[in-house]
């Protein structure tokens, strides 16, 4: 006789979902909910998170969760907030968790509207830098020179030729009380930020780097390692901004060259095959160095 292990009471995102092995996003979702507590309503746009958590009849969500369409999670969240206020259910908070496609691209107008209205929503972008649900197409969050299926590397292309949209700064420009970036490689830091965000009212935004073994193409046991290298190279700066001012940054204890991060992912493999690629790696290193300088990421 086997004894089924009880799910810990506090877990609000339980096993049994259909995420890929080593999925950074699934890990992020579980820890986000550990930090928000159970008196929340979660809204998600269409995307990986929606697809792998909601096959009809099954759900890992132990909080009320709603998905509607791709581009409207911020507006659906606003509607939930309005209803809660109208009903006097003031204790329940609203959290939106969406991917970079739904946040940087197709849902951007709705996100900006929600931020401008000052609606009491914690919006969390679980950013894996491309449209993974449909097989890894380029998004505005795809970092430069990563190869994607719609911006592939080729004889005349080194992958994505554009910068990653600087969404945390764009979001912050709406004058909202709290903006932070986090990584699933640093779960303590992530949960601390979510908890802090829950102490503010009004729109708040957290962008979480969630490495994707399937499309970034690295072995699925390396998810946390890739996340750490992203942070410690300076490519994924972790900071908090309260009311427009940077209040904290996560310092890099031992800086790693970007090539240590890039060479473990097949999406950057083409950069290592040519002289042009070496030149692009130098440009990526320059981006990391700019971040380190801008956010003061190195310990003094």
């Amino acid at each position: 006789m086997t004894v089924k292990k009880e799910t810990p009471k506090e877990s609000l995102f339980v096993s049994g979902h259909r995420a890929c092995h080593g999925c950074g996003m699934a890990l992020g979702a579980r820890h986000i909910l550990e930090a928000t507590g159970d008196d929340v309503i979660v809204v998600s746009p269409t995307g990986c998170l929606e697809t792998f958590t909601s096959p009809y009849g099954f759900s890992p969500w132990r909080v009320p969760w709603i998905h509607h369409v791709f581009e409207n999670a911020p507006a659906v969240a606003s509607g939930v907030v309005a209803a809660l206020r109208a009903q006097g259910r003031d204790h329940t908070r609203v959290v939106a968790i969406g991917g970079d496609g739904g946040t940087f691209d197709i849902g951007f107008g709705a996100l900006s509207g929600m931020l401008e209205r000052g609606d009491d929503v914690l919006y969390i972008c679980v950013d894996n830098g491309a449209y993974m649900n449909t097989g890894g197409q380029r998004s505005a969050a795809t970092p430069p020179w990563a190869a994607t299926t719609t911006a592939p590397a080729g004889r005349q292309s080194m992958g994505k030729a554009e910068m990653k949209k600087d969404l945390p700064e764009i979001v912050a420009a709406h004058g909202i009380p709290y903006v932070a970036t986090a990584s699933i490689a640093y779960l303590g830091d992530l949960k601390k930020k979510v908890k802090k965000a829950m102490t503010f009212h009004g729109p708040r935004y957290i962008q979480i780097d969630t490495p994707c073994p399937s499309v970034w193409s690295f072995p699925s046991h390396l998810t946390l390692e890739i996340g750490r290298l992203g942070v410690n190279s300076g490519l994924v700066p972790l900071f908090e901004k309260e009311n427009g001012t940077i209040t904290a940054t996560r310092k890099i204890k031992r800086k790693v060259p970007v090539s240590d991060y890039l060479d473990k992912q097949k999406r950057y493999r083409h950069l290592f095959d040519s002289e042009q690629g070496q030149f692009e790696i130098e440009k990526i290193q320059a981006l990391a160095d700019t971040n380190i300088e801008k956010y003061g990421l190195l310990s003094v």
């Binding site: 929340v40 309503i41 369409v69 659906v76 509607g79 309005a82 209803a83 109208a86 107008g109 709705a110």
Partner: protein, 396 residues
């Protein structure tokens, strides 16, 4: 029941919504819907309505706010028109699928291009397949009355679908008409607070908007269709209750006007039916056996009532203010689909008239009747709809 005032159509709608005590209103401005949402905004600003008013950046978000609010258990309302309704399309399909019973006013206006702000029905007809219940109204009074019924129909536990009350832009939204208002207590008795069995609640967490595979997808879609078709008796019942409350004849999914013994029956919906009734009076006086069938409830399509009303006529002349490009007018398509194969079904002649606000007057209707009679007399089988009053010098 003696509150009678002359008000603008948009104000009458805003007052009906106010009487329904919504929790959440969300809208994005578009002509000619603006006076409705401005009126509601002023009521909220003055504290006359205890509702949250969410001022969104697009119609897409307006409908999305309603989806969230409705799922969270709040009675919710929006209004839009034309391009705005098309922009909402995806959200409306998903909301019907998730059985979110909000109410919206579809202020009828044509669709670009060319851009035009005058009335026709292309906008709301483009949404007929979404799973929305759709009503079309003839007058400001009927617009007021049907908005009172809309929430009760939408929120019925066996229906649970969004309801769209369609009213002609400008012709109804911006004209002043004598309106008899219903006492608030009567509305409260008629329409209890929204109390859905399921809503977003941390005490009873549920997962909404799941991904469905082919094993259940058809059943979900069939359930929407079934809620509509099985909902017809309940809609009739609610409209009877509405009639009892208003003291007006709001009965029925259709309305017939002088169809007894009619050889020709015009079929139309919206404000043009008032003009048609006048034209029919003149034609009847001149000895022509003509009547009108007005479709009040377009989705679900009331083909049973329609058949009873038209089965003894020779010819049905449909007046369509919308068109499925490359095929037929919208109502024409429905009628032909539902009458085809019935023994001795009358001939259906589809006329397309009034697009982009093109005037339809009594003379237009007389000519249309004559043409329909002629087509029937000659036994012509017309493969194409008849476009009324086309300017040959432009189209040639």
């Amino acid at each position: 029941m003696d509150d009678i005032r002359v008000v603008e159509g948009s104000e009458a709608v805003a007052l009906a919504i106010k009487a329904c005590r919504p929790h959440v209103i969300s809208a994005f401005p578009i002509s000619p819907q603006t006076h409705i949402v401005e009126g509601l905004a002023k009521m909220v600003a003055d504290g006359d309505i205890d509702a949250e008013y969410v001022r969104v950046e697009s119609e897409f978000s307006a409908a999305s706010v309603l989806a969230g609010a409705s799922a969270a258990g709040s009675r919710s309302y929006t209004a839009s028109s034309s391009q705005g309704l098309l922009l909402m399309t995806e959200v409306l399909y998903a909301s019907a699928g998730m059985r979110l019973p909000f109410v919206m006013t579809g202020v009828n206006r044509s669709i670009s291009a060319p851009i035009n702000i005058q009335v026709d029905h292309q906008d709301s007809m483009s949404l007929r397949d979404a799973g929305l219940i759709q009503f079309y109204v003839e007058s400001v009074q009927e617009a007021y009355d049907m908005h009172l019924a809309a929430f009760k129909i939408a929120e019925d536990p066996n229906i649970m679908l969004p309801v769209m009350v369609c009213m002609d832009g400008w012709v109804l939204t911006h004209s002043y008409e004598r309106v008899q208002f219903v006492d608030q207590q009567a509305v409260d008795d008629f329409l209890p607070p929204f109390a859905p069995e399921h809503y977003l609640d941390p005490a009873a967490p549920k997962t909404w908007g799941s991904y469905a595979e082919s094993d259940v997808m058809m059943e979900f879609k069939y359930a929407i269709h079934k809620a509509m078709t099985d909902g017809k008796p309940r809609i009739r019942e609610i409209l009877r209750e509405l009639s009892a409350m208003t003291g007006r004849d709001n009965n029925g999914l259709i309305e017939t006007y002088r169809t007894d013994g009619a050889d020709i029956i015009l079929v139309a919906l919206g404000s043009v039916t008032g003009t048609v009734k006048d034209a029919i009076d003149e034609l009847r006086d001149a000895g022509r056996k003509v009547g009108l069938l007005k479709i009040r409830c377009y989705r679900p399509f009331p083909h049973e009532e329609i058949w009873q009303a038209v089965k003894d006529a020779n010819v049905i002349a449909v007046m369509d203010a919308s068109f499925s490009m490359g095929s037929e007018g919208s109502i024409g398509l429905d009628l032909k689909a539902k009458l085809f194969g019935r023994p001795q079904a009358p001939m259906v002649v589809d006329f397309v008239a009034g697009l982009g606000g093109r005037e339809i007057n009594a003379r237009t209707i007389r000519r249309l009747v004559v043409r329909a009679e002629e087509i029937h007399r000659l036994g012509l089988v017309l493969p194409e709809a008849q476009w009324v009053n086309l300017d040959a010098s432009i189209v040639s």
